[in-house]
Amino acid sequence: MASFDFLKDPAWRNEVATTAFGKSFWGFAGAAVGFGVLCWLVKGSDDVWAALNEDLSLLVDLMPRVVVALSIAALIWVMMPREKMSALVGSESGMRGLIIATIAGTVTPGGPSSAYALLAAVAVTGADRGALVAYITAWATLGLQRILIWDVPFMGAEFSMLRFAICIPLPIIAGLIARRIPLTLKIKGAES
């Protein structure tokens, strides 16, 4: 099937290998060995084995969650109409504007480069500051891709769901506060 051609692309394979086993990976591997040696010196071998034992059972517990969470993230990534959602930021005023900005921030995928680029693009058009703050706060605290890729693997699904549920109203509150702060905004690149 043509759509799996990426598997044969040497550039892509190289990129994935660098992401997986690049400098940052060896940094963490080195830290694990370093703290392991330190633990052995300070606490003795019993604690080292106990720690490794706990890690192993934790990782065995985590792996099914990681696979399920990353599968959901990949499906959402492909199926969600992201551009349509983010185009709505700043298009509405009032409470509706804040709610739309919060939903858009929640579905904006991945890392800060895309989220901040979009925020900057919307900000130069002179969009409502409440919506700008609600959008980026929602991206940071509620971002679905971020929660599925980071929170669920490390903290487990229950904790992540609890944190998500608790944080739902907070970007809207931050947006309401932003509208009441008497500060002048000078967005880079915007004509004032």
Partner: protein, 172 residues
């Protein structure tokens, strides 16, 4: 199977059925999955091993008295401050959260820590926010969102009075 995993599996099944109905191409989905897996899992394994050793090395009582149930409301400013000063990406931030969790930090403190880091991550501000939006936007955003991690922690405390749902996997 735990409730959380069960909910995730059900969500996955629903999404997969929709994807099949829409005749979504499996290629890009598999590609995205492999890319994210490569980004997360190798580093996560060693980050958690390092976190396990650090948790053995640091005195549990110190963390527990600052961030545990007994610290009460005081745990929140400590957790928020800790989240503010972690100038690093998600693997390090969550490895620190793992150390906190193993050392007896409470759920509200962990939620305040992660929420604070999510909102204020210093490296993100330096690399993206200041160059793209400028200092006046940063100032306004910080003033507006300052209360958010505290609110998250307080709501988590109130929720904790009603239900024990949401314990991190690390402490179970």
């Amino acid at each position: 199977m735990s409730t959380g995993l069960l909910v995730l599996v059900m969500l996955l099944i629903v999404l997969a059925v929709i994807a099949v109905q829409q005749r979504q191409d499996a290629g890009p989905i598999a590609q995205r999955f492999i890319e994210q897996f490569a980004m997360l899992v190798p580093r996560m394994v060693f980050a958690l091993i390092a976190a396990g050793f650090i948790a053995k090395l640091i005195p549990k009582e110190a963390i527990a008295s600052l961030l545990g149930e007994d610290a009460g409301l005081w745990a929140l400013p400590v957790a928020v401050a800790a989240g503010l000063i972690v100038p690093a990406g998600p693997v390090i931030a969550f490895a620190i959260a793992a150390v906190f969790a193993k050392s007896g930090a409470s759920v509200p403190a962990l939620i305040a820590f992660i929420t604070s880091w999510s909102i204020f991550a210093a490296h993100r501000i330096l690399i993206y926010e200041l160059p793209l939006l400028g200092p006046t936007f940063l100032r306004m955003r910080i003033l507006s969102a300052m209360a958010v991690p505290f609110m998250a922690g307080v709501i988590a405390m109130i929720v904790g009075l009603i239900t024990a749902f949401g314990q991190p996997l690390l402490t179970q």
